[in-house]
């Protein structure tokens, strides 16, 4: 057992934090208030190399291992980047681009990955539907083969980056009689006739990521835009899930570290009853809530990344444990951070309320906590 980061990883983490503090964090608050996606920050992430970090160099990436990729996400959170932007980055890089990298043909990779790595294009992934969330196999979006193309009909729901995406990885049924093995995957570009996105949904948190419906009405998709083989969609979605449960969790954990630092500062500066509130044991107890969560969650998240780097096939149990822990056990420390700031914690300016709102997505997005328990239950 050895838990240290390499000197390169530590240096890289510092660099990401420095970059994000300078270029991105100052813009987060206002975008969160307005509930707007920040194109400029997104492109900056691309310029810095984060969007395609783990891609091979020929596709605009840096060939980073999974752990380094996870550390980059953690560093964004730790710098104070809001959960909306990190979610947009996650959906773009891991749910969309990585699927193309893993399952795409050389032509598909060449066409999309360099643009996605730089942030010139934005990607999204559509799996959830208005009536199919946890029960993914029951999706109703249909892809009918007609000669040299498919025709897509149906809709997707809660799609991160939906309103701004240039390309969508979309899961649809090519055989309605089959459940999982009837699902296939397609690449749909913005502007394709019959493809549109709904309005940006007003959300509790992660407000700088835009979320919408994707609508397909007799949308013609050329055969070469099918990603992977017919009926392979389920396997592809499952693989994505591992990213959902490692790299996408990392910014939540980094964010909690950011919040902990704010809490420590506040506990020293805020005086009540003639002394800093940090001198009260109840305040120290709240700090402990945050620290314990961060340390345990980080280990579970790093372990999924480490297992992926080792090339272990689908680590469902470890991934579900990490997701469940971050989802369910983050509520108390997020609440403690809010309470520690008293009335100021309830106000936008102090950022902890934003973290509280953003972190409430952790037990929902990428498979709810109940679904993680279901996976663990089965694997036990």
């Amino acid at each position: 057992m050895e838990f240290s980061l390499s000197p390169e990883q530590m240096t890289f983490k510092e660099q990401v934090i420095k970059f994000a503090r300078k270029e991105i964090v100052p813009r987060c608050g206002e975008h969160d208030l307005r509930g707007e996606f920040d194109f400029q920050s997104f492109r900056k992430l691309g310029e810095f190399g984060i969007l395609g970090l783990h891609f091979p160099e020929e596709y605009g990436g840096s060939n980073a291992d999974v752990l380094t990729t996870v550390i980059a996400g953690e560093a964004l959170g730790e710098a104070g980047v809001d959960g909306g932007l990190t979610l947009s980055y996650g959906a773009h890089t891991f749910l969309c681009a990585d699927t193309i990298l893993t399952f795409g043909t050389e032509e598909q990779r060449q066409r999309y990955l360099p643009r996605l790595s730089t942030g010139e294009w934005i990607g999204c992934m559509g799996l959830t539907e208005p009536s199919a969330g946890s029960d993914v196999a029951s999706i109703k979006t249909r892809a009918t083969k007609r000669g040299d193309h498919y025709v897509l009909n149906g809709s997707k729901m809660f799609i991160t980056n939906g309103p701004v995406a240039d390309v969508a990885v979309v899961y649809a049924k090519t055989d309605m009689d089959l459940k999982r093995s009837g699902i296939s995957c397609f690449l749909v570009e913005k502007g394709t006739p019959g493809f549109s996105s709904g309005k940006n949904l007003l959300k509790m948190g992660v407000r700088t990521s835009c979320t919408s419906e994707l609508i397909f009405e007799d949308c013609r998709i050329p055969m070469e835009n099918r990603l992977g083989g017919e009926g392979e969609g389920w396997i592809m979605a499952l693989r994505t899930v591992e990213w959902d449960r490692s790299a996408l969790l990392a910014p939540f954990i980094g964010g909690m570290t950011y919040v902990l630092k704010k809490c420590i500062r506040y506990a020293k500066e805020r005086y009540q009853f003639g002394r800093p509130i940090g001198e009260f044991e109840a305040t120290k107890n709240k700090l402990a809530d945050l620290k314990i969560f961060i340390e345990a969650a980080r280990m579970l998240c790093y372990r999924v990344a480490w297992a992926k780097d080792k090339g272990r096939p689908l680590n469902h149990l470890e991934a579900a444990v990490a997701k469940l822990f971050v989802g369910d056990w983050s509520l108390v420390p997020a609440n403690s951070a809010l309470l520690l700031h008293g009335g100021y914690g309830y106000c936008h300016e102090y950022e902890v309320e934003r973290y509280f709102r953003d972190s409430r997505l952790a037990p929902i997005g990428g498979g709810t906590s109940d679904i993680q328990k279901r996976i663990i239950q089965r694997l036990l």
């Binding site: 057992m1 050895e2 838990f3 240290s4 980061l5 752990l67 902990l260 420590i264 506990a267 020293k268 940090g278 044991e281 305040t283 120290k284 107890n285 709240k286 700090l287 402990a288 809530d289 620290k291 314990i292 340390e295 345990a296 969650a297 280990m299 579970l300 790093y302 372990r303 480490w306 297992a307 470890e318 444990v321 469940l324 822990f325 369910d328 056990w329 109940d370 993680q372 328990k373 279901r374 663990i376 239950q377 036990l380």
Partner: protein
């Protein structure tokens, strides 16, 4: 970064389990006996088995790392009583005495280290002589390390059974803690304490916390496995109990707590081994979280198993698990310490 045990570590730990497991039934009968003589016999017999393994040398290293936790979790899982007799008795004694060895008579040292005799550690929190509870091996130890305050701080001093009055002044505690733990009222010994060796109470607490982390992990693992096996065997209607969501989801939470506690503890022990700048705060984090998780998991496991949960070993582990939060650095104190360290206090 590496989350895997080496093959050598796994082989050692499995060899340890193989040696101990077949003897456990008989050992437990003795360790649970109300007869002090039988309990001592059980302890020494268990010690004999453990002495063949690398257990003690791992724990007695100045900087113990994650591997020691691998063994601790196993022993506390197999036999919490033997675990406490060994860890809170001989090993705690030796760990405290070792750096001070030149101050003590050395003749008893080797027999304790080779686990051929039994030791106990008593801590008097306040000045003067009063009753002490949860004295490990108090009713039958050969040697006692008394830690007590005097005007200048805490002093540690070694006594034998007669000097401290163990035979007359100790009574095994009620089940499930007795006979491994006793109530004791040591004789007045201020003259000897004045010649004892100064000790930071924090040093003692830290070692106790490491012991209690191991104890917590073993008990969580035991609770998880018993509940899981029970719910697989027991049927509700035409399906096993584990297939019911209310039960299966609770088990999933228990498993998550086991995994999270274990990894937090491993990190803390790793930090200790490499003298990481956050080693102290991480140890408090691990102590608080593992002890709290253990109590919660035991409660949930019993709930899952219903009345059957009260029959087997879970009932006693439930009470033990409460102890994990109370002994060493109590959970609430550990949390305050974490906050204090973060604030730079």
């Amino acid at each position: 970064m590496d989350f895997e045990w080496t093959e050598e570590e796994i082989a050692m730990a499995e060899g340890f389990t193989r040696t101990l497991s077949p003897q456990l039934g008989e050992l437990e009968t003795r360790l649970n006996s109300s007869e002090v003589k039988l309990a001592r016999e059980g302890v020494l017999r268990g010690f004999g088995l453990i002495s063949e393994s690398p257990y003690c040398s791992l724990i007695l290293r100045e900087r113990q790392g994650p591997t020691s936790l691998l063994f601790r979790e196993r022993l506390s899982y197999l036999s919490p009583r033997l675990y406490f007799a060994l860890e809170m008795g001989n090993l705690l004694f030796l760990k405290i005495v070792e750096p001070l060895a030149q101050f003590f008579k050395a003749d008893y040292y080797d027999t304790l280290k080779n686990l051929r005799s039994v030791a106990s550690v008593l801590v008097l929190e306040a000045e003067g002589v009063g009753p002490i509870s949860f004295v490990p091996n108090g009713a039958y130890a050969d040697l006692f390390l008394l830690i007590a305050p005097n005007q200048k701080g805490y002093k540690a001093s070694v006594f034998d059974q007669l000097e401290i009055g163990a035979s007359t002044e100790s009574t095994p505690m009620d089940w499930p803690f007795g006979p491994i733990f006793s109530h004791m009222r040591p004789k007045e010994l201020p003259y000897r304490l004045d010649h004892g060796v100064s000790l930071e109470l924090g040093t003692l607490r830290k070692i106790q916390d490491q012991i209690l982390i191991g104890a917590s992990l073993g008990s969580i693992k035991r609770a998880f496995e018993e509940a899981r096996d029970f719910t697989k065997a027991k049927r509700r209607g035409d399906r096993p109990l584990i297939a019911c969501q209310e039960v299966g989801f609770k088990l999933a939470e228990i498993f998550t707590l086991l995994d999270a506690s274990r990894h937090l503890a491993l990190r803390a022990f790793w930090a200790e081994e490499i003298a990481h700048r956050e080693k102290d705060v991480l140890l408090f984090c691990a102590k608080a979280f593992c002890a709290e998780s253990s109590e919660r998991v035991l409660s949930e496991a019993i709930q899952i198993m219903g009345k059957d949960g009260f029959e087997g070993s879970l009932k006693e582990l439930y009470l033990f698990s409460k102890l994990f939060g109370v002994l060493g650095t109590p959970t609430e104190r550990a949390r305050v310490n974490i906050g204090g360290l973060l604030l730079g206090a």
